[in-house]
């Protein structure tokens, strides 16, 4: 047993602010509950049965009191409500310049893919001093990526991408855990986040380096998995060109219009019949049991890299 730990590490300005919020709120809790504890003891002593005390004119109701002890604590709570909701909203708006890392959870491991194509399992190396955006996908059940030192967690839900971003400021090695029960080895589905200085991160990237970026790995898959047979320049089938697709609006055959984000691309690959692009036949096969989530993420990265190219009309 090592020394008593009372407080978790703070690895970002955000985690420090969460601690301030939690501590200030604790003070409020103590203030609100102290009267109950103190008065209960005082009354129990003072008005103990058999003891003489002034018990004349007991009160059985005083609307003013009751309203005020309903309303005043509530009003105090609202201050904290605004504070914490603001932080939560901020947590749902990742800055545009974030470094994007793809995360795939599966029973019972964490896989990470860096934009340069580096891959790691149960270990995540990221630089401090710049926002990091994690895109989370699950291969099977719901998991949850939790880094206590960052005071952050996010469920990883199969069938949809969720995300988590942070801007760490303290280098170190911090625990990362799965905090959503996910079956037999849930309790050991963990690892470490290595928060590195930018230069250390650059060195790490080099040493872990691959010759292909994530997008080029996606491009390779695009050819080997036969996507290019329909979507490629030379294709004879009537299928939409994917250049300039990402981030643009897509009219669907049912008349609605969606924005082609990562989720849409993913669903187009795994559930092509759910949303069919307008003007095209519904002939794309599903890749549900062919492609794993990490491959899909590569394809998404590839299609995203084509965003700048001109969009072709059906």
């Amino acid at each position: 047993m090592s020394a008593l730990p009372f407080w978790p590490h703070e690895a970002s300005a955000y985690s420090a602010e969460i601690d301030h919020l939690a501590l200030a709120f604790t003070v409020l809790i103590v203030l609100l509950s102290a009267p109950v504890f103190v008065l209960m003891i005082i009354f129990a002593v003072k008005y103990r049965r058999g003891r003489t005390a002034d018990r004349r004119h007991p009160v059985n109701s005083r609307i003013g009191f009751e309203i005020s002890w309903a309303v005043i604590p509530f009003a105090a709570m609202l201050v904290f409500y605004v504070w914490s909701t603001r932080l939560y909203f901020q947590q749902h708006h990742p800055p545009g310049n974030a470094l994007e890392i793809q995360v795939v959870a599966k029973q019972w491991m964490w896989k990470f893919q860096h934009p340069g194509g580096q891959r790691e399992i149960n270990e995540l190396h990221v630089p401090i001093g710049r926002p990091i955006l994690l895109t989370l996908a699950s291969q099977d059940v719901i998991h949850d990526l939790y880094v206590p030192a960052l005071r952050l967690k996010q469920d990883v839900v199969p069938g949809r991408y969720t995300s988590l971003w942070f801007d760490a400021d303290t280098v170190g090695v911090y625990r990362l855990q799965c905090s959503q029960f996910c079956g037999a080895d849930h309790a050991v589905m963990g690892g470490y986040v290595h928060l590195l200085s930018p230069s250390d991160y650059a060195r790490w990237l080099e040493q872990a380096g691959t010759d292909m970026s994530l997008a080029s790995q996606g491009a390779a898959l695009f050819r080997t998995r036969g996507c290019s047979g329909c979507h490629g320049a030379a294709a004879t089938v009537k299928a939409p060109k994917l250049e300039g697709l990402f981030g643009h609006e897509v009219p669907l055959s049912d008349g609605s219009v969606v924005t082609a984000d990562a989720q849409y691309i993913r669903d187009s690959i795994l559930m092509p019949h759910a949303q069919v692009a307008a003007g095209y036949p519904d002939i794309m096969p599903t890749f549900q049991n062919v492609l794993a989530e990490d491959d899909v993420l590569k394809l998404v990265a590839y299609i995203k890299s084509l965003a700048a190219e001109p969009r072709s009309k059906p």
Binding site: M1, S2, A3, L4, P5, F6, W7, L21, A22, F25, I29, S33, V36, F37, M40, F43, A44, Y47, R49, A53, D54, R56, H57, P58, V59, N60, S61, E66, A70, P73, F80, W83, S84, T85, Y88, Q107, D140, V141, I142, Y146, P148, A149, L152, K153, Q154, D155, V157, P158, G159, T162, R175, C178, Q180, F181, G183, A184, H186, A187, V188, A274
Partner: protein
């Protein structure tokens, strides 16, 4: 009472005779109205059914307790040594399933509600006595299914049965466990229905809504939730079974389903279910506090109305279980706000109880000690719930031991304390015997200390980042886990104590008078234990609830 020699032959006419095996009241009571097994297992007397529940609910409390003991022993060390990963998962799943559906939900309503509601409102029985018996049988069948799950290898989904883990991936007896909960749900629904009709229809002359004991009000609110929320759970469990057995795509995205839909449905039931578990406890405490202080409750209508408010708003906060699940942030903001709102009526109750004590005649007997520890633990549990309602803080402590500690403060610190408080308060009424006060006091204190030692360290563990459902953890957290397990063993001993002195009292306890606590309420006007038909003559009420004498001027009687 102590000067009566025990070796003397029992004198049936001496009510203070300790060796007495049967008092005249007992001879005429519901306890002796039929001695055959059949007279118990086919009874329609609400008091006997209450005792059937008392025995079966207590049985499941100890089965769930054994699972808790395994968990706490395993957590003594950072490695998973006592149980394998699978074994641990099965232990906490069974602990949750049994404690929630086979102990906490039926505990107070089905035993004390059953026993007391007719007595409190001046009725001879519940509105549907045979339905009442049926609901016990349904409970037993559900319970047997759970025991079957236990011997057939258990289930490893957590009591929350999250999909697609439960519907597509888990290996255990998921369908059987879901069936058990499905079945026991009907017991809840029937009991709720029975209470609602009884409270509407069977109040004795003069027992207006404004004169109902608060215990009855809170059971009324509980029953509304039982009837409205339980069917949602039943259908959700049926959908899990459909997906698991037949591949009907409802929750698994691979089949075109939505896993979050499951969480919405589940918590739409399970958050109100928290209030099913705690509202009856709040009702008990209102009775205990007023009786201990011999005073009318402060702000009757606020306390009664707050039960209904909790029941109503409690239906609108389920999304606070999904702040990190990927739900829209605007939805989260609304649920966070409503979760603060739902705390207001609970706060009103607590402050009103405190005000009730003011200028009271407080007897420091077991009922008061249980009520006081309930209040302390409930306040703390409730306020830490507000910490969890804070969106940004929840992102840190959600699904950690902080949550475990929070809801055990409410469920165990609150409901279980209220259950034992009720047991100690109404025991003389139910069985006609009193138990040694000192043992009741010791138990109340042990529970309070053991409880805090068990669960307070878990708040710290949670803030340090220990996820729930982990039995392998970093060594630096061992201290807190050892403290917690130590507290749990104190708690375990405390829970076993009443077995000794309460059972002892059945034979050797001094007979109780009709109103041993000097409490107000119709249940204290009938003999202890009550006769089979409760009231020989239908009572007529022409006074308010908690009609304790008040001291107005100097010299007036108090």
């Amino acid at each position: 009472m102590t000067d009566v020699p025990i070796n003397k032959r029992a004198d049936p006419n001496d009510i203070r005779d300790r060796g007495l095996s049967e008092t005249p009241e007992e001879r005429a009571s519901y306890l002796r109205a039929g001695h055959t097994l059949r007279s118990w297992f086919l009874t329609t007397d609400h008091k006997r059914i209450a005792l059937l529940y008392l025995v079966s609910v207590t049985f499941f409390f100890f089965v769930g307790g054994i699972a808790a003991a395994l968990i706490r022993i395993d957590l003594l060390t950072p490695e998973g040594d006592l149980l394998s990963n699978e074994g641990y998962n099965r232990a906490f799943t069974l602990h949750g399933v049994i404690m929630v559906w086979f102990f906490l939900i039926p505990s107070i309503p089905n035993t004390f509600g059953n026993f007391l509601i007719p007595l409190m409102i001046g009725a001879k029985d519940l509105a549907f006595p045979r339905l009442n018996l049926l609901s016990w049988y349904i409970y037993v069948i559900g319970g047997l299914c759970t025991l079957f799950v236990l011997v057939a290898g258990g289930v490893d989904t957590g009591w929350t049965f999250y999909t697609p883990l439960s519907s597509m991936f888990a290996h255990g007896q998921v369908v059987m466990a879901a069936t058990a909960v499905f079945i026991v749900g009907f017991s809840s629904i029937l009991t709720g229905l029975n209470f609602i009709v009884t409270i509407h229809k069977l109040r004795c002359p003069g027992m207006t809504w404004g004169r109902l004991p608060l215990f009855v009000w809170s059971h009324y609110a509980t029953s509304l939730i039982l009837v409205l929320a339980t069917p949602v759970l039943s259908i959700t469990l049926a959908l899990i079974a459909a997906e698991r057995l037949f591949g009907v795509g409802v929750f698994d995205p691979k089949l075109g389903g939505d896993p979050l839909l499951y969480q919405h449905l589940f918590w739409f039931y399970s958050h109100p279910a928290v209030y099913i578990m705690v509202l009856p406890g709040l009702g008990v405490v209102s009775e205990l506090v007023t009786a201990a202080a011999r005073k009318r409750v402060f702000g009757y209508w606020f306390v009664a109305g707050s039960s209904l408010a909790i029941a109503a708003v409690g239906f609108l906060v389920w999304g606070h279980h999904m702040f990190v699940a990927g739900q829209s942030m605007y939805a989260s903001a609304v649920f966070s706000f409503l979760s603060l709102v739902v705390a207001v009526p609970s706060a009103v109750k607590v402050y009103n109880w405190t005000a009730t004590l003011y200028k009271g005649q407080i007897a420091i007997d077991p009922p008061f000690l249980f009520a006081a520890s309930f209040i302390g633990l409930f306040v703390f549990g409730g306020l830490t719930g507000l910490v969890l309602a804070m969106l940004a803080v929840d992102m840190h402590v959600h699904d950690t031991y902080f949550v475990i500690a929070h809801f055990h403060y409410i469920m165990v610190g609150g409901t279980v304390s209220a259950y034992f408080g009720a047991l100690h308060f109404w025991w003389p009424k139910m069985f006609g015997r009193t138990y040694p006060m000192v043992w009741g006091r010791i138990m109340a204190l042990l529970i309070y200390l053991g409880f805090n030692l068990t669960f307070f360290p878990q708040f710290i563990l949670g803030y340090l980042g220990m996820p729930r459902r982990y039995h392998v953890y970093p060594p630096e957290w061992q201290v807190w886990n050892v403290l917690s397990s130590t507290g749990a063993s104190i708690l375990g001993i405390a829970y076993l104590l009443p077995f000794v002195y309460l059972l002892w009292s059945l034979r050797y306890g001094p007979p109780a008078s009709a109103n041993p606590w000097g409490a107000a309420g119709l249940e204290w006007t009938v003999p202890s234990p009550p006769p089979k038909e409760n009231f020989v003559e239908t009572p007529v009420v022409d006074y308010p609830a908690y009609n304790y004498p008040m001291e107005m001027e100097e010299g007036a009687r108090g």
